[in-house]
């Protein structure tokens, strides 16, 4: 079986179209992030989060109104997978043990004969949350810098580094935008938390993986087809590696979709981020990263010519 055998699509020629698509996706994402703000989870915001399992199903709205009375302010109440399980998040102040007792006793009153137990809980102090957030920001920034340097060392041209990094920022921004827009619309936790950061870094690693394979081929083809224009060689390289890109992305997408379906509630956010990120990352490796190198390279040549003509 073969796909994309002797592929020869004009990837570079249509770059204005793909730039426009990417540009508008990024714009939508940035607007969404600016309007709604980043939806931070408990890890980065601090607070108290409980996952409570009931013996029999309960309604979200009733639970919310019951808890609003006890806690004094409205908590976030969400379904967590099955109708028996609820996620309750509150920033009610006070000792965590006391808050938990308050919640459980008021649920006991509201639902007599329907035992509730805490399956999981996360309590994060605001100070601690702040330091996790900083660590996350550093880790994403560091990874971008490290990758920039690695590619600079391996390919000896800043244009490659820049193309790869812009493609990476493109991937992360669009995934982030997706998570901001669909945050409250899907029935599982899509807040930005530690595991989502892990997903972002994996996306970064994954997308760079695809991009580097293409760059590697460009480098190789440049040595073989020395007389061809740069654009043509780049386009050929993308096509040469196309079937590999699609197959690897395909197998990886398979498994993250499996993870999304069978991995349980806790991994839903992480695996969805990977699904979106890998899709966008594959797209950017094919249509954006190398196209940017072509444009940057042109600029380099132009400015070099200017210097000479002077």
């Amino acid at each position: 079986m073969r796909i994309f055998e002797n592929a020869n699509y004009p990837m570079i020629d249509i770059r204005m179209i793909t730039y426009a698509i990417s540009g508008s996706l990024i714009l939508i994402s940035i607007i969404a992030i600016m309007v709604r703000g980043l939806q931070f989870g408990i890890d980065f915001k601090g607070g108290k989060e409980y996952i409570i399992q009931f013996e029999k199903p309960v309604t979200v709205t009733q639970t919310r109104s019951v808890l609003t009375k006890t806690l004094g302010k409205e908590p976030l109440v969400k379904r967590f997978g099955s109708p028996q399980d609820l996620l309750i998040r509150t920033d009610a102040s006070g000792d965590e043990a006391v808050v938990q007792k308050q919640i459980l006793s008021s649920l006991k009153q509201a639902y007599p004969g329907n035992q509730a137990q805490v399956l999981k809980k996360d309590i994060v102090g605001p100070r601690f949350a702040e330091s996790i957030k900083l660590a996350a920001i550093y880790s994403v920034l560091t990874s971008i810098v490290v990758i920039f340097l690695y590619i600079l060392i391996r390919f000896r041209k800043w244009t490659y580094s820049a193309g790869a990094i812009i493609a990476l920022i493109h991937d992360v921004t669009i995934t982030l935008g997706f998570f901001t827009i669909f945050n409250k619309l899907l029935p599982f936790n899509m807040d930005i938390n530690e595991s989502l950061i892990a997903a972002f870094l994996t996306i970064v690693g994954y997308s760079i993986n695809d991009t580097v394979v293409v760059y590697d081929r460009i480098r190789e083809n440049l040595n073989i087809f020395k007389t061809d224009p740069f654009e043509k060689t780049v386009n050929k390289s993308i096509n040469d590696t196309l079937s590999r890109t699609i197959i690897t992305s395909g197998t990886t997408l398979f498994v993250v979709i499996v993870l999304f379906i069978f991995g349980g509630q806790v991994l839903k956010g992480l695996s969805l981020a990977l699904i979106i990120g890998i899709t966008v990352g594959t797209y950017s490796s094919i249509f954006i990263a190398s196209a940017l190198v072509v444009d940057f390279q042109k600029r380099v040549v132009k400015s070099a010519k200017k210097v000479i003509s002077k």
Binding site: V98, L134, I147
Partner: protein, 606 residues
Amino acid sequence: MKGNGTKIGFTIAFLVISVYYLQFSIRYWILTGREKNLQGQAKTEYVQKHQKQIDNLRPKILNLGLDLQGGMHVTLQLQTQQLLKDLAKERADSTLNHALDIAAAKARKNNTDVVDEFVQTFETRDPNARLSRYYRSEADNITRRSSNADVVKYLQKQRNSAVKRAIQIIRTRIDRFGVNEPSIVKQGQNRIAVELPGVKDEERVRNLLKGTARLEFRLCADPQELQTSLKKIVSYYNNADTTAKVDTSAQQASKNNPLLKVMVPEGRSVVFGAATAADSAMVDSLLGQPAVRQMLPRDVTLLWTAKPGFTGQNGKKYFNLIGVKKQVELNGDVIVEARPTFDRYTNQPEVSMTMNREGARKWARITGANIGKPIAIILDGYVYTYPNVQTKISDGRSSITGLGSVQESQDLVNILMSGALPAPLDIVQVRTVGPTLGQASIHSGFSSTIIGLIIVALFMIAYYNKGGGIADMALIFNMIFILGILAAFKATLTLPGIAGIVLTIGMAVDANVLIFERVREEQAVGKSMRAAIDSGYSNAMSAILDSNITTFLTGVILYSFGVGPIKGFAVTLMAGIVSSLFTAIVITRIVVDYMTRDKNAVVNFG
């Protein structure tokens, strides 16, 4: 085929090592799995027979994270501010306290180190001020003449050793508590991460970790003076309430009295008042007003009792507020032995303590001078008992009563005996996972791994034919190696870690995809089978290395910044990359070479 001897050697070596490390876990799971299925007599017999074996295996098995086996993760933070205050001892004055408060607030806001912020704050207030005014140490050669830089070094050293001591103390306490495989590690400069697998009774753990065990013996306030103050303060709030309008009848006034709304005034003996746990914070803030404080005797402070004094008509429990002297007569460090006992008459649990000689001498003097008066025994800022002194106690024995349960008395003994924490610890993060959720996570993680593996394997065979089959074989080796690496390095498998393994399955075939695509290309330009395979492997190499190194680097970054379960994800991702490189490049090559050893043999790459 040349050079394949080494390759085969390595492969077998890695396989043997991986299987060796994994067999502990497999044996352990089989043994404990059987135990779960048994019941009653059979179970007891089984446990008796195999317990030793299980205990021997346990430290060697693949660690499961708390999110998989259930348990509690707590992050504690040392109150550096308090430590700096304590180190200054009696030299601490309002200037120092003020600088410390500002520094603590800044450190909280900017997430910086309290010691650094403190020095900065201190120096900006007065560039010529010397820290050596507050801190002295013979051992560290800090004298009146020491420079600020030296003092800072000393303070940092003290802070680090305080964290170290705190870790030791917590370890002792937890060991006595009895937890399988607890992990207690330093995190950053002043944090301690504690992982307690399988722990269910959170409340106990919390008390165990937080209890600073600052045991103090203090005299109580003079009942007469206390009563006078109480009257003054109540009437202050009567008058202060301006919303009472013109109607100032005594009854109306007391109805609107903000203090009386939350506190029942007592004024009998040394009990100032009583309030429910929920109202106590409000009472504290009302009584904390500077104007109100002045109405209390200068040397007196008010502390809550650890246990409720009575149950009100509304069914709520009320805690007493006790007037005690500010001066500490005797400290917990004089205690040499503590043990849980029962009160001879009421049979209530209590803790009896024995003091060292110096403590006993002081205790004799204190009790002798205060016969008939109450003495408060205070632990971590809460009054446990305030018994009246019956006679002079000269043997240095005393006991803490008013404990709720036998368990509590045992825990208290544990805390007293493991020593006092150098400074209080704040709990900044708690994460608990119930065992049922953990079990469900293992199940869903396991099934996603298997399903993912099957789908990818089938696809590879469909697409690359025999080549795909070889890649699949490499994939299975890969799984064994990853788990072997995790077990050998004592890494912890978490749920995100399993996600990392699943992701690796998808990405592991990448190297083979690169190679096989390359071989096909080489074949397409007319090279012979063997030549195509040779150049396919060697030409694909730079792309494979470049792409895997970049991914590995992000794994390293994730590992160094992430905490808890996310570290587990990074570990499996890195282990996966290393092992999939080996399996995809080395193992498949051995097999491919073996299959093409005959010149005319054909290995189909689809």
